[in-house]
């Protein structure tokens, strides 16, 4: 592994998650949003280098300017808090503890795109408290654009951009073909901006404290903080905030440390990749790329020594196969077959070509769906085959190194 010590500058710190509950506390701490016009908002998004926190990491200012241009006054903006990933809890935490930052951010993107409508899309349980808050904000004269709440179904793909648009158009929350992008024609046929709720909350802070302040966290290439949801073999599973580039060990320490020795960590969630449990490994796009992983939406799962990585991956692959939306042939057929193949490998039911078959199926489904569900599932499987290579060989011989304590 390359030396990473010089690259890591991110630290655990609270920006989004700091502060007391409630609108009064929010206003006392941060004040009202400054009045900014569209080009100022897009400019500060560009200067800050803010990227989407839903997983894809696309530059926010580019999406904003594309929708502003295509919309010409008819655009629709959506705050996306669907968070279908079971191992992720950061959007739920943010909506529960700092919803005003999200709602401020939604007003900013509405102004930047000169939108005609704004929606907040999140699980039903998250919406009830927001109704009263939106009323309090209306009374306080905070929101120029009224916000409609839309319940997100509890499904893995329900937060995918085109699935969000489909749900708002009154159809099922399933992904659509990407030949026409939602930034061109989305909700009601209008150019539509879908932005993760954490992204919007960052924008609300940038509007108050400036791009330079935002850039003071994270790395030069990947500025700012991100919310991480950490689970698995850690003492206090939950949500923490840190600058990009934070060493993996500091993130684990922030949730009370590992409960036992760790052998690997899944980063980027169920569509992510396995990385070694190296405390010095920076959690950044650049440092994780060699492992085929990325911070994604900040989901980390710590795998203890003694647990079988192939077994855990097979469990997740089985879940992902169950979460297929049922529209695209290669995904409908390929994911269950891939999951079953991995399950055979995990359960040490060897047959000729089993490992090669899992890899072939992963490559076969990649890029062949309306959304990235097959690609993400394939990425997870391929990463497990690499990270647990020694156990792949052992399993084909009826052994399991992890559970036998060989490591």
């Amino acid at each position: 592994m390359t030396s990473v010590a010089e690259a890591a500058v991110g630290r655990v710190e609270r920006r989004l998650l700091d502060g007391e509950l409630g609108l009064d506390a929010h206003l006392a701490r941060h004040g009202r949003l400054p009045l900014l016009d569209g080009s100022q908002i897009i400019g500060m998004a560009r200067d800050s280098g803010l990227t989407g926190r839903g997983g894809a990491g696309f530059p926010v200012w580019r999406k904003l300017s594309a929708v502003a241009e295509a919309g010409d006054g008819s655009a629709v903006v959506v705050a996306n808090g669907a968070e279908g990933e079971p191992a992720s809890g950061k959007d739920r935490a943010l909506l529960a503890y700092q919803p005003n930052l999200v709602l401020d951010g939604l007003q900013l993107v509405a102004a930047a795109t000169k939108a005609r409508a704004a929606h907040l899309y999140a699980p039903k349980a998250a919406l009830a408290p927001l109704r009263a808050l939106l009323e309090a904000r209306r009374v306080a004269g905070l929101d120029r654009m009224s916000v409609t709440l839309q319940a997100a179904p509890d499904a893995f793909v329900s937060g995918e951009e085109s699935a969000v648009v489909s749900a708002l158009n009154g159809r099922g929350a399933v992904p659509a073909d990407k030949r026409i992008r939602v930034i061109q024609a989305g909700v009601g046929g209008s150019p539509t901006l879908v932005q993760n709720v954490e992204t919007l909350a960052h924008l609300a802070l940038i509007a108050r404290y400036g791009a330079g302040w935002f850039l003071s966290a994270g790395t030069a290439d990947e500025p700012g903080t991100f919310l991480a949801t950490i689970s698995g073999a850690v003492r206090r599973p939950g949500v923490v905030e840190a600058g990009y580039g934070v060493p993996l060990g500091e993130l684990i320490a922030a949730v009370g440390g590992a409960t036992m020795r760790l052998q690997a960590v899944l980063i980027g969630g169920y569509h992510g990749g396995w990385v070694p449990a190296d405390p010095a490994l920076p959690v950044s796009r650049q440092a994780l790329e060699p492992y085929g992983a990325s911070p994604g939406a900040g989901v980390l799962v710590a795998l203890p020594a003694g647990a079988c990585g192939l077994g855990e991956t097979a469990r997740i692959a089985g879940y992902l196969a169950d979460q297929v939306a049922g529209q695209c042939g290669p995904c409908i057929n390929g994911l269950p077959r891939m999951a079953a193949t991995l399950a055979d490998l995990a359960a040490r039911r060897p047959r000729a070509g089993l490992a090669a078959e899992a890899e072939r199926l992963a490559r076969l489904v990649s890029g062949r769906g309306a959304c990235h569900h097959p690609d993400g599932t394939a990425r997870l499987v391929l990463s497990a085959m690499r990270m647990f290579q020694a156990d792949v060989a052992a399993h084909l011989n009826g052994r399991c190194l992890a559970t036998e304590g060989y490591r």
């Binding site: 030949r179 695209c328 042939g329 995904c331 076969l364 890029g367």
Partner: protein, 68 residues
């Protein structure tokens, strides 16, 4: 020009893999897969006619030609 499959519409009827066998093969379940492994494979100029025919004859209207 590139080929684009709308996977939400494709039913794996196999018309395109027959008309464009230079570019497409069937996967394990009869759905088209590009021989070059690309998501949207580029159509070589000599195959443009066959590609247009495949697009026109797709019973599910799932196959498209796109510029990018």
């Amino acid at each position: 020009m590139k080929l684009h499959v709308d996977w939400t519409a494709c039913d794996g009827r196999g018309v395109c893999t027959e008309l464009l066998e230079e570019m497409l093969v069937e996967d394990d379940w009869g759905f088209p897969v590009a021989r070059d492994g690309q998501r949207s494979p580029a159509v070589p100029p000599p195959l443009e006619g066959a590609a247009k025919q495949a697009v026109d004859r797709c019973p599910m209207l799932a196959l498209k030609l796109i510029a990018r």
